[in-house]
Assembly symmetry: C3
């Protein structure tokens, strides 16, 4: 189940990467790289930071195949995908939750401090988008007007609180991911943003 959701997350992130890249007049190779980076960039950065090399996707080709499939589908059906915007958003939100949990897990495996694990969860879920935006020559969208990363951080905090309570693993993963998914949906619905600070001299 967990694995399946991870695959769905990867696939959806790849599709959303294609849709972003299509607005940038890139060629097919460029679009593919953006799709790849959106889906696997966060996990790749996490693996590099903790020294888990060769990085994950080099040892499990299923992720690469999924991105190729997502890439092809998104390119072929690019005009129809607009109608699926709401389903896409839902999958993207599920991906956010799953990717955060996977990042948390990798940190725990390495015996790192909970704060670092939460950071790794957030990096896994958000830095694919950050690298995508850098490659597309834009200030990363999650630095500007999103509560995206905050959802990961809060989800990570909840994870460790629940773990302290000794609840079983299945419930732990289920509650944490549902919390993140619902929080994100509420945030988007109610337009919750982090404040933007202005620096007036």
């Amino acid at each position: 189940m967990f694995q399946l959701l991870d695959f769905i997350g990867t696939f959806v992130f790849a599709v959303s990467g294609v849709l972003t890249a299509l607005n940038k007049k890139l060629d097919l190779f460029g679009v593919f790289i953006i799709a790849f980076v959106t889906a696997l960039g966060g996990g790749t950065l996490r693996d590099i930071l903790i020294g888990r090399t060769p990085v994950g996707w080099m040892q499990n080709l299923q992720y690469v195949y999924l991105i190729v499939i997502g890439f092809i589908i998104a390119v072929v059906f690019r005009k129809k995908l607009d109608r699926l915007r709401i389903s896409m958003f839902l999958f993207d939100t599920i991906g956010l939750g799953i990717f955060t949990l996977i990042g948390l897990e990798k940190g725990i495996e390495k015996g790192l401090h909970p704060i670092i694990c939460i950071a790794l969860g957030t990096i896994t879920a958000t830095f694919g988008g950050v690298i995508r935006d850098i490659l597309c020559n834009e200030i990363p969208v999650i630095f500007r007007r999103e509560i995206y990363a905050t959802v990961c951080l809060l989800g990570g905090v909840l994870f460790f609180i629940l773990q302290e309570c000794n609840i079983n693993d299945d419930a732990l993963y289920l509650i944490t991911s549902l919390f993140m998914i619902i929080l994100r949906l509420l945030a988007v619905r109610n337009k919750w943003y982090l404040p933007t600070l202005h620096h007036k001299v």
Copy 2:
């Protein structure tokens, strides 16, 4: 021979990095970093991804010296290098082929899957330019209008097909690199580009 071509590739990539940086009003340090990154950025990223650290150029200073020499020559003779544009392009194309083969080799050494090895070859040959463009605040040129990366990918595929046929190593390297060099020359001569997709809603 292989080593010599690798050195030529590094040198030429450094020179081409200088020429790119000169259009950007950078100071000497900035120009040097761009030259360095153009020449060694792809291999550095490859080494980081597969966990081959300290990364290559830290263990073989000849690459660093070559870039310093390339940097000095390019800065001093920058006005005359325009006349050498065709020779430069030829060396750059040779560098492309060699760098791809080197990336393939490092992947094979690590026992990675052929698809990952091809990705590593392509990263080695192209991501120096990608990092250069990011540092210069531009969308990477190979994402927009180049068949550059495609040449690496096809060269990598040919490499593994030939290897399956059990031909000897010398012939394998020679044929694969000649194939990439000729393909690139044909692509530029005949203006073969990958299609650019537009996303009309």
Copy 3:
């Protein structure tokens, strides 16, 4: 003493990251990431390049706490910090010297060649700012009009010259860091810049 200065350097770099980010209309999360990256990005890149993973700050949370404190202070007192511009600049310069020495040390620990150690010192001191500028979608300021990196390079050269002279470690660190601090102050006071090359065809 050394440790204390390292902490001061980290803190000041975090504050200066906040001040840069405030001009970019980022939200609080974006500002925090920019502060983090400015303070720890150089050391993180260095650790990744030499394979010292999990990277430094993951194993010593004091750096993370310092950045959080620096972030909060800078955000709360952002309007008053302008008056402290000179003190800030002084601390930033001290940070530059300290970070260079720390980078040198990590390279020596790994048994790398002095030239590579000097490169690592420079990367530690300057690439936090480079990554910050990339995330903010600007050409890195140290590539354009700063003698910043040159100070690190010269400091590194002096370090190895003094080491050859067999002076004791305390004097070695003190002289090298004072040299870099004074050189930087002189450079800013007298507006010493590296030449910018223009490429006229």
